[in-house]
């Protein structure tokens, strides 16, 4: 369904948008709009994948197409598509609202090759004592930098763990930046104010699963049974020996 919505948006711009844009835009802005539309149409003809569907929706919501956010979709276009789209016209739906339907609809896996609009990472109740299998998945997020995109996706869920002394957000940022660096993708660390699309991956996409469960440090931290004080990464091998001299409590065993 989402692919049909995206195609409907493109169709509206091709039939009506070009003419209206002449009136609304300066010459320079019009050319930018026209280029964006032509590029979308060409890509759609070559490979209408879920990522492209998302990009079209983002462009309609906050990109070059945004000026037509409130434009209603006329019945003449709806009739070209399946009858199931006609209910949109009855509701007087606009292009912007259709774009929102694309990004927020729940049928993400139905016909879109696995595109997901829900959060990539979630921690259901009880995850700390019974780890939940994480699945690889990705989504396109429109932000100014890849750091902003990753933080917007993970900062909420992982940010809540800070109260228990656990991190994770910086790790996800570093993993995304490393993957981009290694593959020299165009999605580099962008500067400036222009929004761009970034593919953000779930922890499982990098081979990560939850380290929680009965008896684990993560489980003990979440339940408050154990706290972690200082953590220093990249110390000498005798760090613990030196510090044991200062405090002779505790003992440990390595398996």
């Amino acid at each position: 369904m989402k692919a049909k919505y995206a195609r409907l948006i493109l169709d509206w711009h091709r039939r009506f948008g070009i003419e209206k844009a002449h009136e609304k835009y300066s010459k320079e802005s019009f050319l930018k709009y026209k280029r964006a539309l032509e590029e979308f149409i060409q890509r759609w003809e070559e490979h209408p994948d879920p990522e492209l569907v998302n990009e079209i929706a983002h462009c309609q919501l906050s990109g070059t197409f945004e000026v037509f956010f409130c434009e209603p979709v006329p019945a003449s276009i709806l009739q070209l598509y399946d009858m199931e789209l006609l209910h949109l016209h009855r509701e007087g739906i606009s292009l912007g609202q259709i774009a929102k339907l694309i990004l927020h609809s729940q049928d993400s896996n139905a016909d879109e090759g696995g595109m997901q609009t829900k959060e990539l990472f979630d921690l259901p109740s009880g995850w700390d004592q019974s780890p939940v299998l994480q699945k690889p998945c990705s989504k396109v997020i429109r932000q100014r930098t890849v750091v902003d995109a990753v933080r917007s996706e993970f900062g909420g869920t992982l940010g809540k763990l800070q109260a228990h002394g656990l991190g994770g957000t910086s790790l996800m940022v570093a993993l995304h930046e490393s993957a981009i660096h290694i593959h020299s993708k165009s999605e580099t660390r962008r500067m400036g104010n222009e929004l761009a699309n970034f593919t953000v991956y779930s922890p499982a996409s990098f081979g990560l699963q939850l380290a929680s469960g009965p008896g684990t440090l993560v489980g003990a931290m979440m339940s408050g049974r154990v706290r972690v004080g200082k953590v220093l990464v990249g110390v000498k091998a005798d760090w613990a020996i030196d510090h044991r001299k200062e405090s002779d409590h505790g003992h440990n065993r390595r398996d």
Partner: protein, 100 residues
């Protein structure tokens, strides 16, 4: 090259606590300019009541393109690299090619 992590474990309770760090447990650094770490083996610690244990654990680097950390401040994360054995090349190959 293995990276050593110094870690302070605190048991504020009146009972002994035994905890485990599964193989692959990930420790992040505060800054994105140096390497994060996945533990290369499983660790088990017994913390007596009301005690602080300062110990060290060892792991491999998660970010091939970053510099080695040098006493960088870090945090435990809820994650582990999902593999029964941790091999540096295998870790780098896996994290550099995320799957969707």
């Amino acid at each position: 090259m293995d990276i050593t992590v110094g870690i302070e474990l605190i048991n504020d309770q009146d009972q002994e606590v035994t905890i485990e760090l599964p193989v692959g447990s990930v420790i992040e650094v505060d800054t994105s300019t140096v390497q994060n770490v996945a533990l290369s083996r499983r660790y088990r610690f017994v913390l007596p009541p009301r005690s602080t244990l300062r110990t060290s654990v060892e792991g491999v680097c998660l970010n091939r393109n970053l510099s080695p950390p040098n006493s960088a401040s870090g945090l435990m994360t809820p994650f582990r690299f999902d593999s029964p054995e941790i091999d540096q090349d295998q870790v780098w190959d896996r994290v550099s090619s995320p799957t969707a």
